[in-house]
């Protein structure tokens, strides 16, 4: 009995998969935006909140490295919108205990706070620098916390297999030329889980200058997570590799984790 049942299930699965593959491919503008939205949610908003130990390796052309190690806490306040981030630094050793907090808003510039243990001082940073580097890495703030989908015009240029995964190649062009360093970018979005597998950034001359790759994707509590990613500066051959370890979702982060008080004295249970 069991045998027959399982065989039937597999037949159904195969049929469904076949049907899925035969579905007409998505190509309307609305669908593109939809894909981008799904991608952003899958990439930056999984779970209600998240905690991860992040290892960041800045590697120069010579292969010399700078390591940054941190715990990153994130809480969502609005689907695809406001979020709060809290980062505690372990490495480099001389910046241990430094903390950094970001309130990300969908509609206005971020608010940021930084705590410097050497001076025992918290400073608020007003920043209008989404294109600046995130802690000296090849990622910009925008790469880390996401770019507003409405800022770009999107179109599907192609669908192709990247490795063993089917992907949409989506071209994003900034509506305001001055609003970005790139003239366009190409994103390979996994058709299955909508994570970006690869992104290529082209400068104003149309030359490739930056490449993002998702090097390892793992399932964590049912969420697909890019556990290894690389951003490579094509021109300088500098790259930043980021590894997410001990990733947990829905851990029940309180709102008061994201306050100035906790910047100075973060609770051990959250940062370890």
């Amino acid at each position: 009995m069991n045998k027959i049942k399982s065989r039937m299930i597999s037949v159904v699965v195969v049929l469904l998969l076949t049907a899925y593959c035969l579905l007409p491919t998505v190509s309307h503008a609305a669908d593109v935006t939809d894909i981008m939205k799904k991608s952003q949610l899958a990439f930056l908003y999984p779970g209600k909140d998240m905690k991860a130990r992040v290892y960041m390796r800045l590697i120069n052309k010579d292969g010399k490295e700078r390591i940054k190690e941190m715990t990153m806490l994130r809480k969502n306040y609005q689907e695809g919108g406001d979020q709060k981030y809290f980062i505690y630094f372990y490495q480099p050793a001389d910046v241990r205990d430094m903390t950094f907090m970001v309130y990300k808003y969908a509609v206005k510039d971020d608010d940021r706070w930084i705590f410097m243990p050497a001076l025992n001082m918290v400073r608020r940073i007003a920043a209008n620098d989404k294109r600046s580097s995130f802690v000296g890495s090849d990622f910009t703030y925008e790469d880390v916390s996401g770019r507003d989908i409405k800022d770009d015009n999107h179109s599907i240029t192609k669908e192709e297999k990247l490795g063993d995964k089917d992907a949409y190649i989506i071209k994003g062009e900034p509506k305001d030329e001055k609003g970005a360093d790139f003239s366009y970018k190409l994103s390979w979005i996994d058709k299955g889980n909508f994570l970006p597998l690869k992104e290529e950034y082209y400068d104003k001359r149309g030359e490739l200058y930056k490449v993002f790759t998702a090097d390892e994707v793992k399932d964590v509590q049912g969420f697909p997570v890019i556990t290894k990613r690389t951003m490579k500066d094509v021109k300088s051959e500098h790259r930043t590799e980021v590894q997410y370890q001990k990733t947990e979702f829905n851990i029940g982060l309180d709102d008061d984790v994201f306050t100035e008080r906790y910047l100075k004295k973060p609770l051990k249970k959250w940062i370890e």
């Binding site: 800045l58 120069n60 052309k61 010579d62 010399k64 490295e65 700078r66 630094f89 480099p92 001389d94 910046v95 430094m98 950094f100 706070w113 930084i114 410097m116 243990p117 050497a118 001076l119 001082m121 400073r123 608020r124 940073i125 007003a126 920043a127 209008n128 620098d129 600046s132 580097s133 995130f134 802690v135 000296g136 890495s137 090849d138 001055k178 360093d181 400068d203 104003k204 001359r205 030359e207 200058y209 500066d233 021109k235 300088s236 500098h238």
Partner: protein
């Protein structure tokens, strides 16, 4: 007596010789399409040379760009106005679209971030997020700029009239091409204006109806413009020099067949040596691009053959014996002058600077080709020329009647009859020359290779006047300990070295990681000036730097500290490209580190300014070494040529005299002894000795002939030379005057031809060409006069010792 059968063979089979030479020439000529060009003076030193390897490693450690162009924007009424900032934005945006520009690191008002303290904390903003519109916005903008010491003198001049855009280039980009594109961007008119404006005031470019002037400067611009110009000049002046030579030759000899053979010899030597150079796969470098002009100059030595041939032909009226006789008497000096010239350049082959080596070897090769032609092609052509035509042309060639000859004879007479006065006068000039030489200043400045008032030079001058300086050097602090640079003591030490270097008049601005730390410290502490200093703990420094890395481009940090924080890079902006300026910095740092210790660290220079300083010195000293070696070798050649030590010394005198005088003048007028002048020293040597060889060889042969006639003796010439015969002063005087008049005419003809061809270069837009033109022209005249006046004086004075 003559073992050389080539001449006879050529005389007997002129067409065969011409055909063989033509075929070989064709063989070399087909190599030309393979030409590769290298205009980068950096390649003077091989990529494996210590300084380049070291500079490369510094560039890697600090993610530095090799080359940066500076676009200076000047508005005499101040740049904080309604239009200039907008133009800066537009120009920057256009620059970001240029191929070959390292766009991520372009620095201008509209690309850099500014970290400032505000009421709530800290603000990280683009320096100029939007073009300020209201007066109030402008005031805020202006204040934010002048509050940041990292920006003052770099992006804004103290008097607010000048800003700059720093444009780093990607590896392999051509500075001139990008500079040309910049000029296009700058001269695009305002959309409402119909035509393109390109002002020339001060060498800058002026946008129509704008008050702004634009200046493009920086090492890559000077270097690549020079490289490009050099090839253009070579392409222009080689043919002009050739044309002038043709005309002068026609005026001198009046026969096209003979003239074209001299020109053909020049061309053949150029084709053979350049063909060989290209065929062997060497790129044509700045130095080797000068080979054609030099070879053309050397080829004029064939004049001595024609000069004598005309005299002989008039005497003998029969072509074949005239040719053979000519070659017999002129052959020896021509062979040795060629040898001397080849030696002068050949010594460069043992130098370690490759383009210098290549230059020397191929000129030496070309010189030998020229001599080969003298003994083959020239006799062959002489055989083919119509006898009557030569007869008409050579009708004036009689040393007794000819005016030139008479003048020369009287010149010779000065030396002969007033030998003591002449020698004393010469010694006085020589002493003065030595004084002049002692004043020579070794220096090199590529920007000064452009004429005053030229775009490149003006741009450099103006930007250097207003901002920190266009010439960039580095001083690198090196330790073996991780995080050494983050120590407060290290930073304070670096800071005091910076302050010390800034005392040098040529140092415009310095900056280092210290300036970043101080800046963040101050901003973090509510802009309190008391915190404008290095903090007291390593942790505070590390955290400020971390903060800095969150508000800047990654390259900003990488440019000043290496990855493990073992090394720090101090940027030193110099206001001049004088190699001496970097020397000053190096000396200053040495003195500072000697009197103030920082255990565990050393300070080493690097960067383009340092590289220029090193390669200039290396080329200069290499040339100088080659020059001294050539002096020795030429002397040995003279000894062999005359088979007499004494005569070699006498023949050496005009050479020493000429060179001393010229360099004495260089010293007196305060012209820097730079690369082009040092290159000339080798040429001058090979050429200046030529006339003396001709003069003395011919004089001694004449003496021998005269003595034979008088004494009717059958003694061998060796005995003659060693002074076994009675000395007859009228015989001596006669022979000297004859030499001054007849071979002297060849000497003067050679000098005139040479000087005429090179004088065209005086009009060149690049100063090294002007230098080469003036230098060669004056050298030829000086050594010609020396040979004709001074040699007779010396010979008369030392006759008992010599004869």
């Amino acid at each position: 007596m003559k073992r050389f059968s080539l001449v006879e063979f050529s005389v007997d089979h002129p067409w065969l010789i011409i055909s063989i030479i033509a075929i070989i020439t064709l063989g070399f000529a087909v190599q030309f399409p393979k030409i590769t060009i290298d205009t980068d003076p950096k390649n003077m030193l091989p990529a494996t040379s210590d300084v380049r390897v070291y500079n490369d490693s510094v560039e890697k450690d600090f993610a530095l760009h090799k080359d940066t162009i500076v676009l200076g924007i000047v508005n005499k009424n101040g740049i904080f106005n309604q239009t200039t900032p907008g133009k800066i934005v537009r120009i920057t945006d256009e620059i970001l679209k240029l191929k070959g520009v390292a766009v991520k690191d372009v620095t201008s008002f509209s690309t850099v971030d500014n970290v400032v303290a505000n009421a709530e904390g800290i603000s990280v903003q683009p320096l100029m997020a939007d073009v300020p519109k209201t007066e109030q916005e402008m005031a805020v903008f202006k204040k934010s700029i002048y509050d940041n010491p990292l920006i003052v003198d770099r992006l804004i001049s103290k008097d607010a009239t000048t800003t700059a855009i720093y444009i780093p280039l990607e590896p392999g980009a051509n500075g001139k091409e990008i500079a040309d594109k910049l000029k296009e961007i700058i001269s695009v008119p305002h959309p409402s204006l119909p035509n393109k404006g390109e002002g020339t005031e001060g060498g800058g470019y002026r946008e129509e109806k704008g008050d702004e002037e634009y200046y493009v400067a920086g090492d890559p611009v000077a270097r690549d413009t020079f490289g490009a110009e050099m090839f253009k000049q070579m392409g222009l002046f080689s043919p002009i020099a050739g044309m002038v030579m043709m005309i002068v030759l026609y005026l001198l000899f009046g026969n096209f067949g003979l003239i074209s053979s001299v020109m053909a010899v020049a061309m053949i030597s150029v084709v053979w040596s350049m063909g060989l150079l290209i065929g062997l796969g060497y790129p044509v470098h700045i130095m080797s691009s000068m080979i054609p002009v030099f070879l053309m100059a050397i080829a004029t030595d064939s004049i001595h053959i024609f000069n004598e041939f005309y005299f002989r032909f008039r005497e003998l009226k029969d072509k074949k014996p005239a040719v053979l006789d000519t070659m017999k008497v002129v052959g020896q000096p021509v062979k040795y002058t060629a040898l001397a010239t080849a030696a002068g350049f050949g010594v460069l082959a043992i130098m370690h600077i490759i383009p210098v080596k290549v230059f020397g070897i191929f000129i030496a090769f070309g010189t030998i080709v020229i001599r080969l032609m003298s003994f083959s092609l020239i006799p062959a052509v002489m055989m083919l020329v119509n006898e009557n035509k030569i007869l008409t042309a050579s009708s004036g060639e009689d040393e007794a009647e000819n005016r030139t000859a008479r003048v020369l004879r009287s010149f010779g007479a000065i030396g002969t009859h007033q030998s003591r006065t002449t020698v004393i006068a010469g010694i006085i000039v020589l002493i003065l020359a030595v004084v002049g030489i002692s004043k020579i200043n070794l220096n090199n400045n590529m920007v000064n290779w452009f004429k005053k008032g030229s775009d490149v030079r003006e741009a450099d001058r103006i930007i250097n006047e207003k901002l920190g300086g266009t010439a960039l050097g580095y001083v690198v602090a090196v330790s073996e300990e991780d995080d050494f640079i983050k120590k407060p003591d290290t930073l304070r030490y670096i800071e005091s070295i910076q302050r010390d270097m800034e005392k040098l008049p040529n140092v415009g601005k310095t900056f280092s990681v210290v300036d970043y730390v101080k800046r963040i410290s101050r901003v973090f502490n509510n802009n309190d000036p008391a915190f404008d200093k290095v903090p007291d703990t390593k942790e505070a420094i590390a955290q400020y730097l971390f903060m800095f890395s969150m508000s800047a481009k990654p390259s900003d940090m990488d440019n000043v500290v290496d990855y493990p924080f073992r090394k720090a890079n101090i940027w030193v902006q110099l206001k001049t490209w004088d190699a001496n300026a970097m020397q000053g910095v190096i000396d200053r740092v040495k003195a500072f580190t000697a009197s103030h210790q920082l255990p565990g660290a050393e300070f080493k220079p690097a960067g383009t300014a340092y590289f220029n300083f090193v390669w200039n010195n290396e080329v200069l000293y290499d040339m100088l070494k080659g020059f001294i070696l050539a002096l020795i070798i030429v002397f040995i050649i003279l000894v062999f040529n005359f088979r007499s030590f004494k005569w070699a010394i006498i023949a050496y005198m005009p050479l020493l005299f000429t060179i001393a005088t010229i360099y004495g003048v260089v010293g007196f007028i305060g012209k820097d002894f730079d690369m082009p002048i040092s290159v000339l020293s080798c040429l001058s040597l090979g050429m200046a000795v030529d006339f003396a060889i001709h003069f003395i060889s011919r004089f001694r042969r004449r003496m021998e002939e005269n003595q034979k006639q008088e004494v009717r003796s059958k003694k061998q010439e060796e005995n003659l030379a060693s002074g076994h015969l009675p000395l007859d002063s009228s015989l001596l005087t006669d022979s000297l005057l004859w030499t001054a008049a007849r071979p002297g005419k060849g000497i003067i003809r050679n000098a005139v031809l040479f000087a005429a061809a090179f004088s065209a270069m005086i009009f060149a837009p690049l100063t090294p060409y002007v230098t080469v033109g003036l230098f060669i022209a004056s050298m030829m005249f000086l050594s010609a006069l020396m040979s004709i006046i001074y040699l007779p004086a010396l010979i008369v004075m030392f006759r008992r010792w010599l004869l």
